[in-house]
Each structure stands twice: as C-alpha cells, then as structure tokens.
C-alpha cells in the first residue's frame, strides 16, 4: 500500500516535471505562423483507431483496458517521430495537470475526466499526441500552425502506417475503420481548423459564417467548448461525415472550398472595418489595450475577449498594412519581454503567449501551486500588465 502510494507520488512528480518543461511557452501550432496565419490559427487532423480482437472501451474490464493501454503505449513510444516523446498516465495525473493538458489541446476534456486506465503520448514539440483509451482505443492527432492540412494529413498517415505494422486494427471492407460510435466510422478522420473571426463579429456578420458551416455539413465549436467562442472569437470547424468520402477528398474540400470561403468572409469584414467602421475598430482595440494595461484583476474570459482585439489589430497591421491611429499605437509599443520579442512593437507571438500562459491551469502550473480564482485574476492581470506596458 505504502509502495503504491510512494510510486504514485513519484509518478505525479515526474508528470509535473515533464509538463513544466513545456508550460512556460506556447506550442508550435499556436505560434501565429504558417499560411493564412492571420485568420487560420491552426490545422489539426485526428484519426480514431481500435484494436481488432478487443472489445470497445465501454465493454472492457479494467484489466482489458490496462492491456490495451500497455500495448499501444509500447508501440507509440517506439515510433520514430523525429522528436522526443513522453508519456503521461492521465488516470494518475492530478486535476491541475489534466486541466493543463486540456488547455494545451493535448487531450480532450472527456479523456481528462473519464475513468479507468488511460494515458497520452506527446511529442515534445506537441505537433503529435495520441490519447489511449479515450472513446476509442487510440485517438491520435497532428497539429500545425496556420493552414497546413495537407502536411498534417501526410504526417498522420505516415504515423498510422508505422503503427499498423505493429498492431491489427478493427477494420471492415464495407465500413472501414470500426469505431465505438458509428458517427466516426469509415476513415475515422476528423479534420479541423481553428479560425480567428473577430471582424465578422464586429460587423454583425457571424451568421454568414454559421450558415456557410451548416451548408457544408461542418461542426462548429469554440476553442475550449461551448460559450468560449464568443469570448475569444476563435472557432473550430470540423467535418462530420467520415464514411464514403476519402481522407484526401475531405482535406482538399477544406483547402480548396471551405477555408478560402470563410477566409474571404473575414477579410471582407476586416476591409469593411477599415473603410467604413474605423471608429468601431479603433475603439475596440484601444479599449482592449487600456484595460489590459491597467487592470489589476482580470478573469480568463475577459482576457481572452480583450486579447482577441489585440490579435486583430496586430494581424491587420502585419498582413494588411493597416495603420489606423489605434493600430499605430499598438504596433509602436515597446515590448518589455525582451526574451520573446527583440523587435519593437507588439507581436502576434506576445499576444498568443499571453493568451495561453494566462489560462487557469497554465498560471497555476507555472506559479508552482494551486491558486483560487481571485489570486489567479490578480496574477493574470500582473503578467499582462508587465508585458504590455511600455518600457519607459
């Protein structure tokens, strides 16, 4: 009993060490780089797979779940991914560490808070993660910055090929890859892009985006689930149909039709802001900056909301050459955090960094202890103030 408790505490400490290695910075896919990065934040492709000759998880005993976990963990940890990988035992991780993994998009909320033996294999640069024993035995994803779906598809296909050499997947010629839920059947692929659409909201045209998504049979959700899209203007769109359409057809539909259409909507709205609603734009940006530079208590939701306006300002300056009074002021700020930005002016990296590092679990993990909501709000405000105030 004591041995078990001792080894569990060592494992927790080990997990915390691995996570604090990555928690001080943003991940590659959130770096603000890549094609169409001013609107397409990131591209993600996820594949669901199950082992043949095993039940789906809802019908597995704990022993069978452990057997699947060990088998897949060994296979995944032996892959040559061109990056170091580490494993986190999710069922043994603390709630804070699990929340951190969710904030980081390394695991799903369901995986974090379900029951039974389960884990995640993570590539150190976070472009690849594989959840073991989520709804399916294996759910793996490749994430990249900007619009890079073809590259994601190529990489995950290669990883899938390597895994397939070592295990037998549940597969039927009629229905394709067999998944616990029939909605994922077939290719079992989920193609998603995360989009930043603040101008559509400011010009009251979000419906246009929702209608387009609905017509193209896409699922829309916020960055961290229900409600959060309104705060951060970040929307994730994904395919829903996985049977009867090939992986390459889904990817090319996103690249050739879906993304260009939505990007055009947002770009048109950004141009409208510049030509006819400049006061609205400058008001939003200036208010956001004033609050972020001066607030002493700021909630996560409010920070996401205000940082979204700064991201819009910086991107409109960098990608459209916009120079309204508020944008000019924003981009002439001297950044005090010389480790991040050597050039003058607020960069998109700083905005994204503040966005991610001030999320509740990131704050606490980097602070080294749990904090109540009021203390988190104070610490968040302090970090943001010190990064955004001019170096005078």
């Amino acid at each position: 009993m004591l041995d078990a408790r001792y080894s569990s505490s060592i494992e927790q400490r080990d997990t915390r060490m691995k996570l604090t290695e990555i928690s001080n910075d943003i991940n590659e896919w959130f770096s603000g780089s890549g094609p169409l990065a001013d609107i397409v934040i990131s591209s993600r492709i996820r594949l669901a797979r199950n082992l043949a000759d095993h039940k789906f998880l809802s019908h597995c005993s704990t022993a069978e779940k452990s057997e699947i976990l060990e088998k897949l963990k060994d296979v995944l940890m032996s892959l040559e991914l061109g990056d170091k990988t580490f494993y986190v035992s999710v069922d043994k991780a603390s709630a804070l560490n699990r929340n951190f993994l969710v904030e980081r998009h390394l695991i799903s909320r369901d995986h974090a808070f379900s029951k039974g033996p389960r884990g995640v294999v993570i590539a150190r640069r976070e472009f690849f993660t594989a959840m073991i024993n989520e709804e399916d035995h294996l759910r793996m994803q490749v994430l990249k910055a900007g619009c890079q779906l073809s590259q994601c598809a190529k990489q995950i296909n290669h990883i899938d090929d390597m895994i397939e050499q070592k295990v037998d997947y549940a597969f039927s010629p009629r229905y394709g890859y067999l998944t616990a839920c029939p909605t994922n059947l077939g290719t079992a692929i989920r193609v998603s892009v995360m989009l930043h659409l603040p101008a559509l909201k400011m010009t009251g045209q979000t419906e246009k985006f929702f209608n387009a998504a609905r017509d193209m049979n896409l699922a829309v959700r916020g960055l961290f689930g229900e409600g959060t899209e309104a705060a951060s203007d970040l929307y994730q769109i994904s395919n829903q149909v996985t049977l009867g359409v090939s992986e390459s057809d889904i990817v090319s539909q996103f690249e050739n039709t879906i993304i260009p259409e939505i990007v055009e909507y947002e770009n048109t709205a950004r141009n409208q802001l510049l030509s006819t609603h400049m006061d609205t734009l400058d008001d939003k940006i200036s208010r956001a900056m004033a609050l972020l530079q001066n607030a002493h208590l700021i909630s996560s939701q409010e920070a996401l909301f205000l940082l979204s306006h700064l991201r819009l300002g910086v991107n409109m300056h960098e990608h459209m050459g916009a120079s309204t009074p508020a944008i000019k002021k924003l981009c002439s700020l001297s950044n005090t955090d010389s480790n991040i930005d050597e050039h003058r002016g607020l960069s998109i990296t700083t905005v994204n960094r503040l966005f991610m590092l001030t999320l509740p679990a990131h704050l606490q993990l980097n602070h080294g202890k749990q904090l109540d909501s009021a203390r988190r709000d104070a610490l968040r405000a302090k970090i943001i103030r010190s990064a955004l105030n001019q170096d005078t």
């Binding site: 229905y175 029939p182 290719t187 939701q301």
Partner: protein, 165 residues
C-alpha cells in the same frame, strides 16, 4: 466576461440587437437569459444526438420482433438497448450482428453514404482490398462526372469494368 444582469456569473449568452439602426449588445449568463425569456439551447452531445436519431428509427420490435433488441452480441454481450442509452457499441462485431438496425442510423449520420472509401490497412486480405479499390474508383468516377471530366470518367469506368471481371 461577467453577466450584465446578475453581475456574478460568467456571461455565456451574447445577444446583439439592432433596432432603428441602433446596435446594442447584452451579455448574460444562462440563468439570467432564461429569466429574460431568451431560450438558451444547450449543446447536445453526439451520443445524445445519436440516441435521439436511433429513437426516431423504426423500433426493433417492428423490424425483427419483440426480442431482437435484447438479444446480446455473442462476442461481447452487448444489446441494442444498451446502445440506445450509451450511444457507443460494445465491440467491432456489433456492426455485423446489428447491421440491420444500425444501417439507417449510419446512413443518416454520413449524409446517405453506407460504404467505406479511402485508406485501408495494408495487411487486409486481397478480396477486401479489391472491394475497397472498387469503392474508391466508383467515388472517383462520380466526381469526374460531376466535374464534367468525361475523359477521366471513361478511363475510370474501364478500370472498374476490369476489376469487376
């Protein structure tokens, strides 16, 4: 963002109203929105959606007689009744065992499609590989016809004929 009404909870409902050219925005929590008579439709989980879709299908009693939905899968002991509640299946064999009941649901979830097209594991049998290849070619043929690329369509048609012979 804080609810503008109770000033306590987080605002998750964001209402934009445009009246006589004036635009107003109200941010409130779900509770206050409901009190204001604004319907807040919560997100339905995929599993719930599936269960409701399945419930809309003809019942198993109608399809197979009264005992079918309680007949367990010989491989995992799973029943259709359990699927109705959980929205997930018990084992890969369930797709075969409960095919008749699942097919309408699969069709509905996948925009009318009922057969796989795309990647397959390299280690599957030759006949299975051929089946998938045929399915892939048929989809390509449909796309070629849709795009009015008749030269490609003719090539694909010949290829499919060859496969079928």
């Amino acid at each position: 963002m804080q609810c503008q009404i109770c000033k306590k909870k987080t605002a998750t409902i964001h209402l934009t109203e445009i009246a006589e050219g004036l635009r107003t925005e109200v941010h409130m929590c779900e509770h206050c929105a409901q009190e204001q008579g604004i319907a807040a439709k919560s997100q339905i989980s995929v599993n719930e959606l599936l269960s409701s879709l399945l419930a809309a299908q003809p019942t198993d009693d109608e399809l197979f007689g009264p005992s079918e939905h309680q007949t367990p899968c010989p491989h995992c002991g799973f029943t259709l009744d359990q699927f109705r509640k959980a929205g997930v299946l018990g084992c890969p064999y369930d797709y075969e065992i409960f095919e008749k009941s699942l097919l309408p649901l699969i069709e509905k979830a996948h925009d009318g499609k009922t057969s796989h097209c795309g990647k397959a594991p390299s280690r599957i049998s030759q006949p299975a590989k051929k089946q998938i290849e045929r399915s892939n070619l048929r989809r390509q043929l449909e796309a070629a016809v849709r795009n009015e690329d008749y030269e490609l369509a003719a090539k694909l048609r010949d290829k499919i004929k060859k496969y079928e012979s």
